[in-house]
Amino acid sequence: MIVGNRKEFQEIVGMLGSNRRVLLLGCNECVTVCGVGGEKEVGVLASELRIHWKTAGETFEVKEHTLERQCDYEYIDQVRGFVGDYDVILSMACGAGVQYVAEAYKTKLVMPAVNTTFLGVTLEQGVWSERCQGCGACILDMTGGVCPIARCAKSLMNGPCGGSSGGKCEVDKEVDCGWQLIIDRLTELGQLDRYEDIIPVKDWRSSREAGPRKRIREDLRL
């Protein structure tokens, strides 16, 4: 899932500027699961904004609305009937959702209430951890199911580096060394001999280095 953090309240207020009629759009997908931009968080931010402007003695209107997804046009289109009643759309989706809403409503200001951070997993209720950087060329078969791109601070293809100590990374003693995890996992799998294989230099063209990516599956197109 895509994981994010809500922006600081004062940053959001500053972003909104003099706009006093706000359509606050949540998303029912990843940002709901990671507790940052679903219906509940829309309610909390809307309440905070109302308290802020009531305290300031100024009129303010916020409409709370949570879409099934903000990365599919069909759902974004559901607010077309009333989007014109508001000065600005404040989206609590990931960066993809914010941009797609902006593309759908070209004459409307669209602002992000969330900082999108990583592709990750739920370690436990309330705790999320990064697992993937979407490099576009998965090598998890070679590394015991542990990604060196996402989980090694240096994204080393052949590690660990000298900064690995006691299974932890030098950047933060709370962070596991990605390559230690790989070695441990290969050991458990009885595949430690694979650690001897040199993983070739990665072709980063499948990642962001070749610009924005697009995927087309002709058989699915209408």
Binding site: F9, V44, I51
Partner: protein, 114 residues
């Protein structure tokens, strides 16, 4: 015991403090209350095991939200007491009332920032 507590305290009954959602507290402030406190069971004594511990965390979270919006985290608090501690219930009501009185009316009501 016939104990009395300040008449400004309005009791909202919930089955467990674990029922108290962040939004319930925020909506109370939106509607102009000066302070909110939760009277939960003693830690470790929750009938539902962790209801009061969850409420404690939520109160801490709401404190942060109230700080963010500028009305102050001291206006919300969590107290723990058993059903037989009527004396403590009255004491907590008194303590919170005094705290909120010293903070003054909620700025939400008056638009004091303007």
């Amino acid at each position: 015991m016939r104990l009395s507590y300040p008449s400004n305290v309005k009791v909202v009954k919930v089955p467990c403090t674990g029922r108290v959602d962040i939004l319930l507290i925020l909506h109370a402030f939106e509607n102009g209350v000066d302070g909110v406190y939760l009277a939960g069971c003693l830690e470790g004594e929750c009938h539902f095991l962790k209801g009061n511990l969850r409420a404690k965390k939520r109160v801490q979270y709401v404190k942060g939200l109230l700080e963010e919006v500028g009305i102050g985290g001291e206006r919300v608090e969590m107290f723990n007491m058993s059903a037989s501690q009527g004396q403590r219930f009255a004491q907590c009501a008194q303590e919170m009332t005094e705290r909120v009185r010293s903070l003054g009316p909620s700025p939400v009501k008056g638009g004091s920032k303007k």
